[in-house]
């Protein structure tokens, strides 16, 4: 039975892990995931501060843009620093 147990352990190893991941490899650049993240953070943060729907949406939109612009500036700086590296 020890042999069987050993083989079962092998079955759970890396060779079978690849099967587990088949069909859901991410091809999208990780940066795009930051947009919904920023949108959700803006909405929840502002919803926890205001009650008016209109105010929540206006403030969230403003905060979302601020986050995106800030991240774009940082990204631009990093791209500039890594130019011709």
């Amino acid at each position: 039975m020890n042999f069987l147990t050993g083989v079962l352990s092998d079955c759970r190893g890396a060779s079978f892990r690849s099967l587990l991941l088949t069909g859901r490899q991410n091809l999208m650049n990780v940066t795009w995931y930051l947009i919904p993240l920023a949108a959700a953070v803006s909405l929840v943060w502002n919803a926890s501060r205001y009650e008016s729907t209109e105010l929540i949406l206006i403030r969230s939109g403003r905060m979302f843009l601020q986050i995106i612009v800030f991240m774009a500036i940082i990204l631009g700086g990093l791209v500039a620093l890594s130019y011709r590296l």
Binding site: L8, D10, R17, L21, N26, V30, L43, A47, R49, Y50
Partner: protein, 279 residues
């Protein structure tokens, strides 16, 4: 800040509901827009993170995590647990995983037919055969021998593109029913005919699909965790960030359900410059 214009009903019930399911507390209070917003944003982030990590982003901390020097695992899970039931289910799975009944399976009570893939190696009168097999596996209870229950079965499928039928011996074993892997390992002896006599010199190794509830949010060992991280790379970190942020954002939602919004509408300063103008 508690706003008298907002009816919070019983704030503590709302807080507990908001913790268990993002948005539920606000729904209870009749604040439907906020309920929808919190539910969509928080659960959306959480389940996006889960999907990116193959639904394996939530890992419950081991029991006695602090004694085992695994405080980081506790912190990671603590952030995810903020979303309530979707993450708290991992604690149930941890109990099931570590229970004494979660052991490799050597017997079966009713016949089971399931897709199977793996490798086989056996000898018969035609010689030695080995290769990858894909097909359907049927497992069934085997007659008791010396008072010990066992299982046997048959495999019907293809080996390297050719039709094959295998009869399994009573030496069939499945790995633990509850593990983090989506596939359950199987190893079995194969009966063959050699020189006119039945032998059980062959063996079949592979895996069958594990039911969702038997792998979802089940604790991983270190090797499994590293393998997942190796496969996903930075997407694993992204998934973790999504689930952590979702849990932490729900703290704000819980606070809002208990105390109301942090600022009264129309009474907050527009910006620092506006304050300066006023003064």
């Amino acid at each position: 800040m508690s706003d008298a214009r907002i009816r919070l009903k019983n704030p503590w019930i709302a807080g507990v509901l908001a913790f268990l399911l993002p948005g539920a507390g606000h729904f209870y209070q009749g604040r439907y827009f906020k309920a929808a917003l919190y539910c969509t944003c928080i659960l959306g982030l959480f389940f996006t993170g889960m999907a990116v990590a193959g639904w394996q982003a939530v890992q419950p901390p081991p029991k006695n995590a602090l004694k085992q020097n695994k405080g980081t695992a506790l912190l990671k899970y603590g952030a995810q647990a903020g979303v309530g039931i979707p993450a708290l289910f991992a604690l149930v799975q941890r109990e099931r995983y570590y229970s004494d009944s979660n052991v490799p399976i050597t017997e079966i009570s009713a016949p089971l037919t399931t897709p199977f893939q793996g490798v086989v190696s056996y000898q018969d009168d035609a010689g030695h055969h080995a290769g990858q097999v894909t097909g359907s596996l049927t497992l069934e209870p085997a007659p008791e021998q010396f008072g010990k229950k066992a299982m046997t079965g048959t495999f019907q499928g293809t080996m390297d593109g050719e039709e094959i039928h295998l009869q399994l011996t009573n030496r069939v074993q499945l790995s633990k029913p509850i593990e983090a892997s989506k596939f359950q390992g199987l190893v079995a002896g194969v009966k063959t005919t050699r020189n006119g006599q039945m032998t059980d010199l062959g063996h079949l190794n592979g895996e069958i699909r594990r039911p969702f509830w038997n792998w979802f949010e089940v604790p991983m060992d270190e090797n499994e965790e590293q393998a997942l991280h190796g496969e996903l790379g930075k997407f694993h970190e992204l998934a973790m960030v999504f689930t952590w942020v979702a849990g932490l954002l729900n703290v704000l939602a819980i606070w809002d359900a208990v105390e109301g919004p942090a600022l009264e509408d129309g009474h907050e300063p527009e910006s620092e410059s506006d304050d300066t103008k006023e003064s």
